[in-house]
């Protein structure tokens, strides 16, 4: 039987067991929307802005390890989606983005709502396709899912001209697909793995540094097993939080620009470093020259060869999928009769505990001003550490990362690579669709939340009982902090005037709003939100200390051991 291109697309998505498509209609995708209307296995989520459709699909994937799918129209639909696509790309999130295009005959003629989608998105996708013939459609969709979800994952875009979605063709969905130019390495080189284990066993001051790759490849169990077996200290990047349980003696917490003193010092002073699914980026190791001042052997496991020796020379590169390689390392370790050097380790731990004694995340909660850190700590307590926490970008994001102790992977959802303000609310939506019973909190700031505030309407339509924790400091807090530290405290355009009344705003969208401005009310408000209003979206507007800064901090371009700890009076 012949199907239209639109029907074929829907059938492909069904074959891929797609449950949700996040999208927004328009002229070029009307055939596709019509085909969606005529079926009921795939549910469509109507967002209020295309950027949010991509963010929601992205978080759907982050929180479930399934491919996220979104659908937008040509021209402005695509350009609105670009921020979402670039965000997913920077964090290697598997997405299939379907975009409408003007009819093939109109391409290149500056048609209404035409844009060069493949050209605009090329630098921010893993791959993209323009389908010029309906006969290629099914195979292209198969390839898109395959590419998105294998190797180093990422967004793949399929641009479908309007006439292609109307043309008729037999439907055949290939069972498998192979692309001759695309063969990601899965298994690590056994010689390299041997060498790595050897190095680890000889180490006097070892360190494990794990990133987003560990989470994306679901390698948390292997990571935990290896780390415990070795008894080594471990740190995680912003993207890697949750792969190793936070409340654990071996865990030194997050490293990097706002990482703990002990994590950064151990990273700088170790003699053997095992990097797992992490990429030594600038917010993590700071200045690579400073990092290189201390001699250390580096073992680097990554699925993407181009991540290896990009910013930092490594001694033992291992290309392969993280769980695979870790498993092989564990086997190798078990077969080896040598044990880690207990004496050296003991004195290394002694040093680490000394660093830890600095208590670098310490802050003081005053009687009358709410400290943002305090709100996150209370959020952790009230949710029993069991919530999915999404975040936007700024100080609140760092406070959430520092103070919510994640002990499971895929629970901490934020934009690490691109640092996109506005992701928090749509991320919470995506999480909730992927985990329909989960407790979902969005820790945000009064500036970030306004970048996708329109999604409160989507949340109403789909009854998403998200708990918004707005750390309202009336400032672009992170910008203010940098201005204070590096620009003579000149607050150029970082004060947010004319803020809306968030309580009324939440109510206008049909939700519950709360305003909390006294420290004593923080916990009761959270409890009320998570119990009495369990099934409602609650917008909690916490009026916080305007002057709070995120510490510790490594200034951009500085090295890991050049941390600024809290202001003196705070220590």
């Amino acid at each position: 039987m012949q199907l239209t291109g639109a029907e074929i697309l829907v059938r492909c998505l069904q074959e891929e067991k797609v449950e949700y498509v996040f999208g927004y209609p328009g002229g070029a995708v009307l055939h596709i929307y019509d085909a969606l209307f005529k079926q009921d296995t795939i549910k469509h989520v109507l967002v209020r802005h295309e950027q949010a459709a991509v963010h929601a699909a992205d978080a759907f994937s982050r929180s479930s390890n399934r491919v996220g799918v979104c659908l937008v129209t040509s021209g402005p639909g695509v350009t609105n989606a670009v921020t979402g696509i670039a965000t997913a790309h920077m964090d290697s999130i598997p997405l299939v983005v379907i975009t409408g295009q003007v009819p093939t005959a109109a391409i290149g003629l500056d048609a209404f709502q035409e844009c060069d989608t493949v050209g605009i998105t090329r630098p921010c996708v893993k791959h993209n396709f323009l389908v010029r013939d309906v006969k290629d459609l099914a195979e292209t969709i198969k390839k898109a899912f395959y590419l998105a979800n294998t190797g180093r994952p990422g967004p793949v875009l399929v641009d479908i001209p309007k006439d292609v979605s109307a043309q008729l063709c037999e439907f055949h969905y290939p069972k498998t697909v192979s692309i001759r130019s695309y063969n990601p390495v899965v298994k690590g080189h056994s010689g390299q793995i041997k060498k790595a284990v050897q190095l680890l066993l000889e180490a006097k001051r070892p360190m494990i540094y794990s990133g987003g790759g560990t989470i994306l490849s679901d390698a948390d169990q292997q990571l935990i097993k290896l780390t415990r077996k070795l008894g080594f200290p471990i740190t995680q990047t912003l993207m890697g939080l949750g792969a190793y349980p936070a409340p654990d003696r071996q865990n030194l917490g997050m490293l990097g620009m706002h990482g703990t003193f002990e994590a950064n010092m151990a990273m700088q002073n170790c003699d053997v470093l095992l990097a797992v699914g992490a990429r030594f980026d600038d917010r993590v190791i700071g200045n690579p020259e400073h990092f290189a001042q201390n001699a250390r052997k580096i073992i680097h496991i990554d699925i993407d060869p181009s991540s290896i020796s990009k910013r930092v020379r490594v001694d033992v590169p291992i290309v392969g999928s993280v769980p695979n390689v870790l498993e092989d390392m564990i086997k190798q370790l078990e077969a080896d009769t040598t044990k880690p050097d207990a004496k050296a380790l003991a004195s290394w731990w002694k040093q680490i505990d000394e660093w830890r004694g600095k208590d670098s995340l310490k802050y003081t909660q005053s009687k009358d001003l709410i400290m943002p850190q305090y709100v996150v700590e209370k959020l952790y307590e009230v949710t029993g550490g069991d919530a999915f926490v999404t975040s936007d970008v700024g100080q609140h994001q760092m406070f959430a990362a520092q103070f919510y102790k994640f002990d499971k992977p895929r629970r901490w959802i934020n934009s690490g690579g691109l640092g996109t303000m506005g992701v928090g609310l749509p991320y919470a939506m995506g999480v909730r669709f992927a985990n329909p019973k989960a407790t979902v909190a969005c820790v945000t700031g009064e500036a970030s939340i306004q970048m996708c505030i329109q999604e409160l309407s989507t949340c109403k339509q789909y009854n998403l009982p998200i708990k918004i924790v707005n750390l309202n400091n009336r400032y672009l807090g992170m910008v203010r902090q940098w201005q204070e530290m590096f620009h003579g405290d000149r607050h150029s355009e970082s004060y947010l005037d004319s803020l809306p009344d968030f309580v009324k705003l939440a109510e206008a969208y049909g939700h519950v709003g709360m305003r909390i401005d006294r420290p004593a009310d923080v916990e009761p408000a959270l409890r009320e939100a998570f119990t009495k209003h369990k099934n409602d979206l609650v917008f909690m507007d916490f009026i916080t200390d305007q002057t709070a800064n995120v510490y510790p901090m490594i200034a951009a371009g500085k090295g890991l051991s050049e941390m600024i700890l809290a202001e003196v009076e705070d220590l």
């Binding site: 050209g119 090329r122 130019s181 020796s309």
Partner: protein, 163 residues
């Protein structure tokens, strides 16, 4: 250091812009780029001349390999190889210059492939240094136009880039 990168890539719409986009986005330098289909029409062969430190060139090869349309990548300059470039030069050829142009062209084993009363078109192949030397050797004011293809390269002997 100068490197000659050979790439086999899918002969697909947009493949070229993926490669050139990669170079501009990551700030790699392109001295020349040539591309045309191979004996297998589904594939193109590209030669890029670039320069950079060993680290940069290592990243270039890795990043190229990461592109889905790229089938294979080799750094030809790592071992013995041959490089050739074709140049067409239109020169003014009147009076005593007519004889002189013919003479220099012969010395460089060029061929005169078009002749008018006042001009020659000289075809020259060789490595880039030879073409540069030719340009150096003739009087600049006599050059009307030059067209260079950019370098094409191939490994010597058993070095073969094929799937």
């Amino acid at each position: 250091m100068r490197h000659i990168i050979s790439i086999l890539l899918e002969n697909e719409a947009g493949a070229l812009s993926r490669v050139s986009g990669l170079f501009s986005a990551r700030g790699y330098n392109i001295e020349s780029l040539t591309v045309a289909p191979t004996e297998d029409p589904s594939m193109s062969r590209m030669t890029i001349v670039t320069s950079g430190s060993d680290e940069v060139v290592e990243q270039i090869t890795k990043q190229l390999n990461k592109l889905v349309d790229v089938v294979k990548v080799a750094d030809l300059s790592e071992a013995s190889h041959i490089e050739r470039e074709l140049m067409l030069v239109k020169v003014r050829a009147t009076g005593k210059d007519r004889e002189e142009m013919k003479r220099i062209s012969d010395i460089f084993r060029g061929r005169i492939i078009d002749v008018t009363d006042s001009a020659y078109v000289i075809e020259l192949t060789g490595n880039s240094a030879k073409l540069d030397a030719f340009i150096e050797a003739i009087d600049k004011v006599l050059i009307l136009e030059t067209v260079r293809t950019g370098v094409s390269g191939i490994g010597r002997g058993d070095r073969i880039l094929k799937i």
